[in-house]
Symmetry: C2
Subunit: 188 residues, 2 copies
Amino acid sequence: MSARQRLLDAALDLFAEHGVSGTSLQMIADRLGVTKAAVYHQFPTKEEIVLAVIGPALDALASIADAAQARRTPAARRDVALRGVVDLVVAHRRVAAVMRFDPVVQQIVTSHPAMVSMLRIRELITGPDPDTATSVAASMISGGLIVAGIDAALEHLDDDTLREQLLDAANRLFSRRARPAAAARARP
Amino acid sequence: MSARQRLLDAALDLFAEHGVSGTSLQMIADRLGVTKAAVYHQFPTKEEIVLAVIGPALDALASIADAAQARRTPAARRDVALRGVVDLVVAHRRVAAVMRFDPVVQQIVTSHPAMVSMLRIRELITGPDPDTATSVAASMISGGLIVAGIDAALEHLDDDTLREQLLDAANRLFSRRARPAAAARARP
């Protein structure tokens, strides 16, 4: 493992324990047994460390949005977008879990180009002008995928099983059910 | 609003911006325009502030578990437990969102009596010895409810609509679908 990767792994461990705000360059140096100057030499700010940790996952979002957008039907666009985010969460289980809900990370991501891709993916999943049920399903998926990817109760699942199960659960959230109001209208 | 509630509101604002780790008693004092000694007088440690913020929601968990456990059938137990957590999330949208994923909060909650209630509620929702799909559904619900309760895309929904939609989405995650393998077995 490269020195850079060791540093990012140590940083992610500390972020998980203390949050990004509660982690200092000094703490990362102590964890690695090096001087703060050595950390500073590679990453002059904590923000650069955060971006290095989440960068690979963020970079993948644009490709997912592009691949989904290239499909012809709304159903195919949703399917490709859902598969893309499920694959991403499973591939980056720990990074997603630690970073997704950190307030410092959220502030960094809000001004990151990947934010545009996230909004595109959400619209590819819901379609334009979604109704309330569809918006709620999309929100539940966005939080549920992250948590499911790190839940201790699911830790024993291999990547393929977890991927298949998450995709199945996400699709169930979008499944159509007979709604009393609609049924009443259909058979007056 | 009481001085205590003003302090807790200011703390929650700061927790949302900086995480619990990144928030100091001094920052809370500055936000309120009082001295650090005044904050310290009410809450000698940050942990006590965290517990005061999340306490009402944690205390409600035991009642939810008891109410669900008192029902006779697994379906009724799941239903009461799901309604209970959905009501709780909707009633405490912001606290749930800010605190649920904070690593410091997680450490505090792990050794809190409410942890037992959380595990009871999970088992009331899944039943004992759940299969993989049921475990994944429960995990998705636990994360999805929290995120859905704070998603900007859902902010305009009133509490009743949000409650109904979340319950509907959670139930859909548990809905049975014809599974190819089961269908093949049923009609050989």
